[in-house]
């Protein structure tokens, strides 16, 4: 697509430049007092050069839009990695508990989905080789996905200006053969999976005093919650995604689940972005 556009751009630039230079030479002033010939504007011509660019640009629009759609819809099965940006480093958390800083190891051929948030200001994950880029916002989760096809090391840049060491907020995506990737995984310190870290936290923060697997507890059952549609006290409904779970923990009274009292305390300030991700992953794992 890029090169199609380059071709269009080159064509029109050269057309205009060519015409201008040609006219400028052909119709150059031959006598000091000569004036131009009056040429009456043609409505047909005006319409033609309004409509033709319009049509061309609509073609580009549709094309660009379809590329964009494909980009914004990850496939069903993805390998999820959580990303936390902070001034000025990237932290990656793999589901099986592996953690990395400024380096992300992934196997070749798998669709990888990054679920990203920021601890402070806006950052942006940009991997030019995979043609992906998305802002990383504090207080929100954004996603991108890509499917690496060739092993190698690829630049990962922060593409949203974020302060002093913005240009140092760079890393690498290391794409490995699946076997190498397995070897790399088993070589790391086994801390237990992300979900199990979340489970431990769930107990430490005494979430489990209210949220238990059986109904009739003080808080709603969290089993099977993720992806479900939740009815709120106000009668509105929300889909339980990462952002909803995050909000439920940090600001529980904002969206109160129907049939419950707003007794859940806020955990704002008590859990870090990374711990939040562990809790989210734990809630996700409750099937």
């Amino acid at each position: 697509m890029y090169f199609f556009l380059v071709a269009i751009a080159a064509f029109f630039s050269l057309l205009i430049a060519g015409l201008i230079v040609y006219y400028a030479v052909k119709y150059r002033r031959r006598a000091p007092d000569a004036v131009g010939t009056v040429v009456h504007g043609g409505i047909v011509l005006e319409i033609a050069w309004t409509v033709i660019p319009l049509l061309i640009s609509m073609v580009i629009f549709v094309w660009g839009a379809s590329v964009f759609f494909a980009m914004s819809r990850p496939p069903e099965e993805t390998m999820n990695v959580y990303v936390v940006g902070k001034q000025w480093m990237w932290k990656f958390q793999h589901l099986d508990g592996e953690r990395e800083i400024n380096e992300l190891h992934v196997p070749v051929g798998r669709a990888v989905k990054l679920i990203m948030t920021s601890e402070d200001v806006i950052h942006d994950v940009f991997v030019p080789a995979f043609r992906v880029k998305a802002d990383v916002l504090p207080g929100r989760y954004t996603h991108i996905w890509f499917q690496p096809t060739k092993p190698g090391r690829y630049h990962l840049f922060c593409a949203e200006y974020c302060g002093t060491r913005h240009s140092g907020m760079i890393g690498e995506v290391v794409v490995m053969e699946p076997s190498d990737y397995q070897a790399w995984l088993s070589g790391g310190a086994p801390e237990g999976s992300l979900a199990s870290a979340g489970e431990k936290l769930f107990a430490d923060l005494a979430c489990n005093t209210c949220h238990r697997p059986e109904a009739q507890s003080r808080g709603p059952v969290l089993q099977g919650l993720f992806g479900k549609t939740v009815t709120l006290q106000t009668g509105e409904t929300v889909v339980a995604d990462e952002a909803y779970i995050r909000e439920s923990i940090l600001n529980p009274s904002a969206k109160v689940t129907a049939g419950f009292q707003p007794i859940m305390p806020t955990f704002q300030g008590l859990v870090s972005e990374e711990q939040l991700l562990e809790l989210i992953e734990y809630v996700k794992s409750l099937r």
């Binding site: 697509m1 890029y2 556009l5 269009i8 751009a9 630039s13 205009i16 430049a17 201008i20 006219y23 400028a24 119709y27 150059r28 002033r29 031959r30 000569a34 004036v35 131009g36 010939t37 009056v38 040429v39 504007g41 011509l45 050069w49 309004t50 660019p53 319009l54 640009s57 629009f61 094309w63 660009g64 839009a65 379809s66 964009f68 759609f69 914004s72 001034q87 200001v121 942006d124 940009f126 030019p128 080789a129 992906v132 880029k133 998305a134 802002d135 504090p138 207080g139 954004t142 840049f157 593409a159 949203e160 200006y161 974020c162 302060g163 002093t164 913005h166 240009s167 140092g168 600001n251």
Partner: protein, 534 residues
């Protein structure tokens, strides 16, 4: 040929006669001095930036300094040069002359606008000398509100204050164009420059209050910790981007519409021919002004905008490109069968059309959402908007300055030097910014103090181009100043152009015309060619 005995320049010499003047022509010159000053400050920052980027390592200045440099470069160039330059200098000088009036509708307000502008400039200079700002000219939150420790507040106030000078100038132009046209100067007899000034003024009046409030919110949030934009306090950082771009996208048209107006004038004058499709060119200015307000979301495709919002902004962005394309085609068609002279202003106009075409076409890349994701926030963007703003606005401005210089000063500059520097600027410009398109496509992010070594070759090319460009900008400074004293006396209409401004003496008298002109025909009517040398 001597200068006319009485004109606005010899009507008083004291400092007071300048600083308290209500003559739109003198105020235009006050602006000329001020914007030129800010241009060279902004340009000096650019020089250091390009020097730093000649090598991959961040070695010339510290990263903190680098961030301040590109921020101040952007702030100075955008708010204190590009936005005011054409309306405040050439617009001020020409609007009354072109409609056959003695002055603007509110001369005192006009002088007040200049003082407001200077006050805003002083705040920003204060921020600069006491440490600078490092937020980028875009002031993205929450970085600018909670993270940056630099002089954000004085800079924000500077921009806020300057905004009022834009609003007042816009109001002044709108009222003047509505109320003060000479007898017979109907709307469709107005030169196209006036149409573009009118459209620009509309954006000034409608858009500037939004940016003024937005930067004020930044300052307020820093002082009082309101939490509008801070997610930790329940605010939304992206809200800032919406507010900011709601103004700052139309601001691009504030910069480029006046230039388009100038190019229409120059093309007509140097082809000695009516502008092809006058009504279409006039209305496309208004179309751009209106559509320009509906496309701000295209700066935020990757900022967590919904897919559907992105698509709507994408299609609108394609639409806004069409009126610009229409103008380019009409200018080109105007040249057909013209009697084209290659004087300096025409060279700039041709340069404008070429560079603007490239800038506009690369805009299509960015409007296509799918592609934008890859190239946005890289050097591709930098190259794109420099083609529009430097290639567009500054080429147009310099073209206009050279075209009306004999009217402003009464004297001619050295034509050979002027042609030479137009050529140097064109070459230097392309060498500076063309490689940046490639850099962006290859993935070099913007605002990087240091970069991976594989990008060096293109960066060196760009830095080399920048030094040529810098020289190109200095030469006109010299010969224009020189011409003030030693230039050949120009006479009232050195180019043989049409337009009321050429019917009065050069420089014009303080009251512009000895008697109120009466307009009887369309603009750009040159005597027919029949029976003359072809």
């Amino acid at each position: 040929m001597p200068l006319p005995p009485q004109h606005y320049l010899n009507n008083g010499y004291g400092v007071k006669s300048w600083l308290l003047t209500r003559d739109h022509k003198r105020i235009a010159l006050l602006y000329l001095a001020a914007v030129t000053f800010f241009f060279f400050i902004g340009g000096a920052f650019a020089v250091v930036i390009r020097l730093e980027l000649a090598t991959p390592a961040g070695d010339l200045v510290s990263d903190e300094t680098y961030n301040k440099l590109f921020t101040m470069h952007g702030v100075m160039m955008v708010f204190f040069f590009l936005i005011p330059v054409i309306p405040a200098v050439l617009g001020n000088f020409l609007v009354p002359l072109m409609i056959g009036a003695k002055d603007l509708a509110f001369p005192k307000l006009n002088l007040a606008s200049w003082y407001i502008y200077m006050l805003g400039g002083l705040f920003t200079l204060y921020a600069l000398v006491t440490g600078g700002v490092d937020t980028g000219w875009t002031f993205y939150t929450p970085f600018s509100t909670v993270s940056s420790t630099t002089k954000v507040i004085p800079t924000a106030l500077g921009i806020f204050i300057t905004g009022f000078s834009s609003i007042l100038t816009g109001l002044n132009f709108i009222v003047t164009i509505h109320r003060m046209r000479a007898p017979g100067m109907r709307w469709f007899r107005m030169p196209l420059f006036l149409w573009s000034m009118y459209a620009t003024s509309l954006i000034f009046v409608l858009g500037t209050p939004v940016i003024a409030i937005t930067v004020l919110l930044i300052a307020a949030e820093r002082v009082f910790q309101f939490g509008f934009f801070d997610p930790a306090r329940g605010g939304d950082p992206v809200l800032f981007q919406h507010l900011f771009w709601f103004y700052s996208h139309p601001a691009v048209y504030i910069m480029v519409l006046p230039s388009m107006g100038i190019v229409s004038e120059i093309v007509a004058a140097f082809c000695r021919k009516q502008v092809f499709g006058y009504e279409f060119v006039a209305f496309s200015s208004l179309a751009i002004a209106v559509l320009g307000f509906l496309v701000w979301g295209h700066h935020m495709f990757i900022a967590g905008e919904s897919v559907y919002a992105a698509l709507i902004f994408s299609i609108l962005s394609f639409l806004v490109a069409i009126p610009s394309a229409v103008k380019v085609f009409n200018w080109t068609a105007t040249m057909y069968k013209g009697s084209i002279s290659w004087d300096t202003p025409m060279l700039y106009a041709i340069g404008f059309i070429g560079l603007f075409t490239v800038g506009g076409l690369t805009g299509l890349f960015l409007a296509a959402v799918g592609l934008d994701v890859h190239v946005t926030d890289t050097y591709f963007i930098i190259a794109h908007f420099h083609y529009i703003m430097v290639g567009g606005t500054i080429m147009g401005y310099l073209g206009g300055l050279h075209y009306w210089w004999p009217k402003i000063s009464g004297r001619q500059y050295n034509e050979a030097l002027a042609k030479l520097s137009a050529g140097i600027i064109f070459v230097g410009f392309n060498l500076t910014f063309f490689p940046q398109f490639v850099l962006g496509y290859l993935g070099m992010p913007r605002r990087y103090h240091a970069y991976p070594p594989e990008f060096q070759v293109l960066n060196v090319l760009s830095s080399a181009g920048a030094s040529i460009l810098g020289v190109g900008y200095l030469i006109p400074m010299v010969y224009l100043m020189w011409s003030l004293r030693y230039g050949k006396v120009a006479g009232s209409n050195p180019w043989g152009a049409t337009g009321l401004e050429w019917t009065t003496t050069s420089p014009p008298p303080t009251d512009n015309f000895t008697q109120t002109p009466i307009v009887t025909q369309e603009p750009y009517v040159y005597p027919r060619v029949e029976g003359r040398v072809a």
